[in-house]
């Protein structure tokens, strides 16, 4: 096959590209420039967008011996990921930009461009497994559970999954590093990126305030009594305990948690831990990674609501538009906007964006 290897400049995508070459594919390395002015992100970004990362990716491609190009996806990234991230926060939800990037950029804009240029698919260094039964492809958790990235890939529809190749799915991260070293890739010991790539220094609240403005508003309890002030409701997340700056103690002496963000009134509602309990989750629109499930039929499975979060036993149902989940045990602190991913053991059934919780 002719494959485009998306190379971030990190160790995983470098080893993934090298393995695709070893497997006999005709591979071209591509680094995605996701900022329209990379120089500006020089000290800020982590994991992508920096000059150093694009040089690291180029060097890795040279060592592997494949052609290397930089694709400018800055406009697409800004429109589809950054703007979405801001508007979600502005609406009081908590988005996961990595999901959007996989859905709209890596396995959409990049895959489309690769196909138009005559390639068959895209290789990335994600830790996830795909299986092909001849009729359709399915997505599964990686062998290394600690590194498993199937959650952020669960937004891929069947067609996108067809064009996606993850050569690291059966590998432990530590072995990827060893392999990189053995292959002479100097990124072997490069630290992993954890933060959101376009948010400098991991300061999400500061970045949001910078972009959306510092809009002071009340922090109230469930009775509406004002307990303090915040500098922008959107910088809070449901379930958050730290950083509330409240001086009035609760009667019981228990700490307070964010229960709700009300963007229209710029209000943060706080309360006690047990009030965070969620048993029912609704997510929409539903995306299925492989075969669609029957409508209005109850299934048993697992729900995951954040990257590297626990797999929560549940019953779920697809009503034709949304996925509805009934958790076996309550979950504490769940924000709308987060990704809901349904698993059948290790297989990803599908995903949706959380729109309601109770």
């Amino acid at each position: 096959m002719r494959l485009v290897a998306a190379m971030s400049g990190g160790v995983d995508s470098a080893v993934a590209a090298a393995r695709a070459v070893d497997a006999g594919h005709d591979v071209v390395g591509v680094h995605l420039a996701l900022s329209s002015n990379p120089q500006k992100y020089r000290s800020g970004a982590r994991g992508c967008c920096t000059i150093e990362d694009s040089h690291d990716a180029r060097r890795a491609a040279d060592v592997i011996g494949i052609p290397f190009y930089i694709w400018d996806m800055a406009n697409e990234f800004h429109d589809q990921v950054v703007e979405n991230f801001l508007s979600e926060y502005k609406s009081g939800r908590t988005p996961n930009p990595c999901l959007r990037c996989n859905e709209k950029i890596k396995f959409a804009a990049v895959l489309d461009r690769a196909k138009a240029l005559g390639f068959d698919g895209v290789v990335t260094g994600h830790y996830a497994i795909t299986k092909d039964n001849g009729t359709y492809k399915t997505l599964h958790r990686a062998k290394d559970y600690a590194k498993d990235q199937s959650y952020v890939l669960a937004v891929l529809n069947e067609e996108q999954l067809q064009g996606a190749h993850f050569p690291l799915g059966d590998t432990e991260k530590i072995d990827t590093r060893k392999e990189a070293k053995a292959r002479g890739l100097f990124v072997a010991n490069k630290p992993d990126s954890h933060d959101i790539c376009f948010v400098p220094h991991g300061d999400n609240a500061g970045w949001l305030r910078d972009k959306l403005g510092s809009n002071v508003g009340p922090i109230v309890d469930q009775t509406g009594e004002k307990l303090g002030e915040h500098r922008g409701a959107y910088t809070y997340t449901v379930g958050q305990r730290r950083g509330l700056g409240l001086t009035v103690p609760t009667k019981s002496g228990e700490p307070r948690y964010v229960l709700k963000i009300e963007p229209k009134t710029n209000t943060v509602v706080v309360g006690e831990h047990e009030q965070l309990a969620v048993k029912n989750i609704v997510g929409t629109p539903a995306i299925f990674c492989g075969p669609k499930i029957d409508v209005n039929k109850n299934y048993k499975g697992f729900a995951q609501v954040r990257a590297h979060g626990d797999a929560l036993p549940c019953e779920y149902l697809f009503d034709g538009t949304s996925i509805k989940v009934n958790l076996d045990e309550p979950l504490f602190g769940l924000a709308t906007g987060q990704g809901l991913v349904i698993y059948d053991q290790d297989r990803v059934v599908g995903s949706a964006t959380i729109t309601e919780t109770n």
Partner: protein, 378 residues
Amino acid sequence: MVPAAIAALTQSATHLGNASSLHSAGRKARKDLEQAREELAKIADCAPSEIIFTASGTEANNLAIKGFYWRGKKTGKNVIITSSFEHHAVIDPIHWLQEHEGAVVIEIPVSENGFINEAKYQEALTKYAGKIALISIMHSNNEIGTIQPIQRLAQIAGEIPFHTDSVQSFLKTKFSFKDLAVTSATISAHKVGGPLGVAALILKRGVDLEPILHGGGQERDLRSGTFNAPGIIAFAAAAKFYQENFAKRTTRVRQLKQLLITKVLEQIPDAHLNGDKSNSDDLSLPGIANITFPGTESDGMLLLLDAEGIACSTGSACSAGVQQPSHVLMAIGLSESAARSSLRFSLSDTNTESEIEKLAAVISNVVARSRATLVKAN
């Protein structure tokens, strides 16, 4: 590198001796170096003492531009006149002076065929009379190959320091430092089959500028740094080789370019050539053909052509490697999307007709694929 330059480089590199030292090994190195300077001076038609060796064309341009500017500023001259489509080795030091040293920068526009607007140039000289620290206009454009009327422009400038970046021109087209009547000119070894890391600023005798590197003052006290004797000797050897074959080589390259243009336009009728259309000796470099393929995207085409074994270039990339629309093509009036759908083909006398036939055979498919990519993206 041409074989003569490789031989000169390796032979010289085996000799010990710093050309600035007084011992016999040093004297030998100095002798060879000065001989190279004389040979190069003969080829560039300047005096040997007018050649200041540098480590790159970029350094030579920086030396001229900053050196003249700082000298001019001492007497209250802070205007820099330049063209709108210079190489980054000229634009960037000028912009740096604008941002950090109070320079007022006047960019003279260029025509859609890629030649400087002489009326606007004359106007600027009149408007800023007495305030101009220097003029810097390239001899020929590196992306579209158009040759500027430097001699005429320099004559009009009179006493104002006039610098020309002639890296692309030296030994590709007629070049005589004396006839050009400029104050300074940049030439570089790697463009004429010499080694990387050697270049020179040819600076008119008796003219001073402020040095940008301070140290041993090896080159007329205007440029410091240990002489790169092997590199300089190889530069002269390469220039000599190029000079000897000048007419034959440039004629051959120009024919190849014409063939390329004809063949490509035959295949892609709505493509068009940027810059001078006459392919004449006086107006364009022999080996550069810049072509716009409407509705395509140049970096996708570059990928597809590279896969076919055909190397070409797009505009320039920023430091992170992201392709930028060419400022040169924008300066001659192309829209951003037209600039992003243009490719530059550079030819030398080692290219062959069959390579051009190969390009002609694949270009339709490459253009079609690239057009499909854009349609899909939109």
